[in-house]
Symmetry: C2
Subunit: 320 residues, 2 copies
Amino acid sequence: MPVIELEDVQAAARRLRGVADPTPVLTSRTLDGAVGASVHVKAECFQRGGAFKFRGAYNKISSLPQEELAHGVLAYSSGNHAQAVAIAARLLGASATIVMPADAPEAKVDATRGYGAEIVTYDRWTESREEIGARLAAERGSVLVRPYDDPLVMAGQGTTALELLEDVPELDVLVVPVSGGGLIAGCATAAKALLPGIRVVGVEPEAGDDTRRSLAAGERVRIDVPRTIADGLQASEPGELTFEVNRLRVDEIVTVGDSEIVDAMAFLFDRMKLVTEPSGAIGVAALLAGRLDVRSERVGVVLSGGNVGVARFTELLGAR
Amino acid sequence: MPVIELEDVQAAARRLRGVADPTPVLTSRTLDGAVGASVHVKAECFQRGGAFKFRGAYNKISSLPQEELAHGVLAYSSGNHAQAVAIAARLLGASATIVMPADAPEAKVDATRGYGAEIVTYDRWTESREEIGARLAAERGSVLVRPYDDPLVMAGQGTTALELLEDVPELDVLVVPVSGGGLIAGCATAAKALLPGIRVVGVEPEAGDDTRRSLAAGERVRIDVPRTIADGLQASEPGELTFEVNRLRVDEIVTVGDSEIVDAMAFLFDRMKLVTEPSGAIGVAALLAGRLDVRSERVGVVLSGGNVGVARFTELLGAR
């Protein structure tokens, strides 16, 4: 039994109405020419908090009973989920504690603190964020808002595809970045229900292909914490619930290297005037690098976020 | 007698329908907080060619009789007008020759050539682009498409404000970058006709305040070619026709320094995920630097373009 269905995504869309920003779907004649297809970019960099993560976090937190909200919420995140939980909690009158890797991008840490959350840091290479999160949740009585492995979070993220298909009702392919798998689980659920013939393709960094390996193996495979510039895609194992959805609804996973991600960030900057973080650009990177056969097709691609910061951007792109 | 009226802008809007991209109007809670007003950003970085200039160029070239189009068009421009003329000419089946300063940003030169135009370069500090343009036009029989001092160009640029006011019908203030004055002439014409009480404020670089001085003097004042990072705003004198419009319809000119422009570019990048060239960010720079008294007002601001290129962007912002 799949853990979410179209109705869950539609219910999330109703909760998010008037709260999440409907994001634009952008096109570029130059991108179409380079890819050889008709490409529609769902620009979640313009979402509240600068990434799609607000959708899932708000859907989850707004579904909590008032007595649970009173103890606050807690999250562990490399950044965008943190900001999303902080914003959603503040909107709903709850306190938020965020467990963050000590080497998270400064722009994300500052923004999260700016939204009123308390930050607790850990070492990404030696400590387990899951354990720290669970311990703090137990101590404080806070509700842990998981970054992906929760039906309400997955359903919230799926509203990205629901909105895209409202703007562009006919698509042959949907391309979605993959980390823990929550975004693609929600998007695949919505897209396959509305367009049964659509191909749903996930994109992972070459160094972080845990979902690709897991789908090939038919079971969840754990890898080392991937070393990639795509700091939002450093999951080492698919989620338990997301994997149940994705094994049924995701057709294929492709991977791209870090230098291709940087090239895509430059393309999006120069030709589409869009600011994207490495994780956010990976779908467009896969298209520009020819990792998918999409010739003459109608392609939707989720640009998942834009929280890169000027300093990190100039560091990544100045070195090219 | 003013040289353009609302009807001219409305006629331009009809010609541009289905050809120019309607650009989004973006808002940011952080920007509103920093400015203390409700700010609506008209994002012309998403226009064809990456700047508002396509509006005026297409309105002009599409109005030419077929026998004039057959001899091609010619333009002199520091960049965005060049790309606009190149794109519009190609769409209308005419050849385009562009006279460009030798030190124009590489991204703009490459893009213009990519649109199929022939490029002729000159030295910005020692030669007159007006003279070179006039000579080439005479030799080739091409029509010179002026960057601003033409009623059809002004009217085309005014569709920027017309579109903004369709999305946000009530504004107290409209903030517009000023170089030769074509964009603000068209925008002020549309805005004052639709909202007689609106304040129209122009923004110039501190080093390039020819329109501010000219409005104060009551006649056109010529200054040295301004040295500023805002390469799109290096006019040394207002246009003859634009000045006739702007002396009647522009309420005020404010100026900002280059470092404030860079700060605004960083803000737009970090907080709004928008790529802006220095000239494009100057309106937002004036608001962030407190150059206008807009407290609690509804403010429209034209972000006029995003053609900066990764290399130039990292150079400008990496040095902060």
